[in-house]
């Protein structure tokens, strides 16, 4: 880390990875859009694009410096890079400005994932205000803790590609948000089946594609570590797809939605671990995540939580599991750190502390922010708007099917 020269191969890699991760944000929109009733499909996809747009502006003005500015008390970054001041075209291996962009697209997707909790009932204007606050007050601190020199980083917590920062934050945030905004009208009484599964599968395919960039790109270099991250990502996704499908097959028919949800669960769980574990561990991690997240989904339905599109079950619980699994399965030969099964109890405890603090922080802060928005400008559309659907009510548009 003391060469100050650009490496074209690494730069090429991270440039393309950044574009691929950017594509994941609309992909979240497609993935979610296929799962809502047709009257809300445009709204659901648009929320992802809007997440990308507002987080982009937030990040280049204030977000990047809050996350990666000089550390203040382990908690937040200073304002050194405000408005990207001093973030230039040169850098160490890759251009600084590229590192900034790579981090930006992570922040964008976190917000997009969060929309699961408010699907089919959020007021667009309130979402924009909420989104800016959430990124600033929830995401940015978490990014700083893990990657910007904050306390978690100092403590030695491992989060290779953002299991804690991106997935725990958005998953548990979505749960909090769903509690504040309340259930959809008719939830549990009306049928609210996914109406456009091919759109969800398309979104899932693009997510899977982009996830290679998300995980392998986090090596920030085109090297063996990136290749390892790539491979375990692929394996974990496959493993999760098969176990979720298998588990649901026992109860009924194996839906394609279960299969793709399992793949996403596997992808989430391997995210923090992908720089620290090898292929065989990734079969276990992905496979366990598939079953665990499927169980969490059943639990959510049983509890009648309307965390509508299961960001909590998949990203929240999957991310939490991944953080702990990293502490269990880490292999020193790959990422330099051993996990619990190699006797390193300390690392497991560190992972636990890191993950549960993130769970608590993101749940509580999201809850508070959502409450404030709800009490002031109102989070939710009116009953009539919900009835006609957000496509028409919020965007004045509809699909002609």
């Amino acid at each position: 880390m003391n060469k100050m020269v650009l490496e074209a191969g690494d730069t090429a890699f991270v440039l393309i990875c950044t574009a691929m991760v950017m594509l994941m944000t609309p992909a979240v929109g497609l993935f979610y859009g296929g799962m809502v009733r047709n009257k809300n499909i445009i709204s659901m996809i648009a929320l992802s694009f809007i997440s990308l747009a507002i987080v982009t502006i937030q990040w280049v003005t204030i977000g990047y410096t809050l996350s990666f500015g000089h550390d203040i008390g382990g908690l937040i970054g200073g304002l050194d890079y405000i408005g990207l001041k001093g973030v230039g075209m040169d850098g160490d291996g890759i251009p600084d400005i590229l590192f900034m962009a790579f981090q930006l697209v992570f922040a964008a997707i976190a917000l997009a994932i969060l929309t699961s909790g408010v699907a089919e009932r959020i007021k667009l204007s309130s979402f924009i205000v909420f989104g800016l606050l959430w990124t600033t007050l929830v995401y940015d601190p978490l990014a700083h803790w893990a990657w910007g020199g904050g306390w978690a980083h100092s403590m030695g917590a491992l989060d290779f590609a953002g299991g804690t920062v991106v997935h725990i934050s958005s998953g548990f945030g979505a749960l909090a948000l769903s509690f504040v905004i309340g259930k959809r009208i008719g939830f549990g009484k009306y049928s609210m089946e996914p109406e456009n599964i091919t759109t969800t599968l398309l979104g899932g395919a693009l997510l899977w594609f982009g996830w290679f960039a998300f995980n392998a790109g986090s090596a920030l270099a085109a090297d063996g570590l990136a290749a390892n991250a790539f491979v375990v990502t692929l394996i974990s996704a496959a493993s999760g797809a098969l176990t979720w499908m298998g588990a649901s097959w026992i109860k009924g028919k194996p839906s394609s939605l279960g299969m793709i949800s399992g793949a996403i669960a596997g992808l989430v769980a391997i995210t923090p671990a992908c720089g620290f574990v090898g292929p065989l561990e990734s079969i276990i991690i992905g496979g366990s995540a598939g079953i665990l997240c499927y169980g969490t989904l059943l639990f959510r339905i049983h509890k009648k939580f309307d965390e509508s599109l299961d960001a909590w079950a998949i990203h929240g619980v999957g991310g939490l599991f991944g953080a702990l699994a990293t502490g269990v399965f880490a292999v020193a030969a790959i990422g330099g750190v051993d996990g619990l099964i190699y006797g390193n109890v300390g690392q497991f405890i560190i992972q636990g502390i890191d993950a549960f603090v993130a769970v608590g922080y993101s749940f509580v802060m999201t809850y508070i922010l959502a409450k404030i928005i709800d009490k002031t400008i109102g989070l939710r559309v009116t009953e009539e708007e919900e009835y006609v659907g957000l496509d028409v009510a919020q965007h004045g548009e509809s699909m002609e099917l």
Partner: protein
């Protein structure tokens, strides 16, 4: 025979189907429609302006039944499709003169 045409909320289709099946009415044909009632659709407020939502997605259910079953079917649908809120829908009854099964050699005329 009569054709009962019910135009209901999409979300209520499952309930209506179940309740009808319970009463022994399995046969039906459904399709997606858009509609508005007398009150000319739903009116959303938007920046103080009246903002008319024109046509709302609904599901149309067509059920052909014997004359003496009409009342039961209507009552069943009324009960299970009702939410008490705007947009609950309407039921129309019209005459059907003949029913022919394509497979079997059945002919029903009334």
């Amino acid at each position: 025979m009569k054709k009962i045409t019910a135009i209901i909320r999409p979300e209520k289709l499952e309930t209506v189907k179940e309740d009808l099946a319970e009463k022994g009415f399995n046969a039906m044909t459904t399709f997606d429609v858009k509609g508005r009632g007398e009150q000319k659709g739903i009116c959303l407020q938007f920046r103080g302006k009246r903002n008319l939502i024109d046509m709302i997605p609904k599901i149309q259910i067509d059920i052909v039944v014997k004359n003496d079953e009409v009342e039961t079917v209507i009552q069943t649908i009324k009960q299970s499709a009702r939410t008490g809120k705007i947009g609950d829908g309407k039921i129309f009854v019209s005459p059907v003169e003949m029913v022919v099964g394509i497979r079997a050699e059945e002919y029903i005329t009334e």
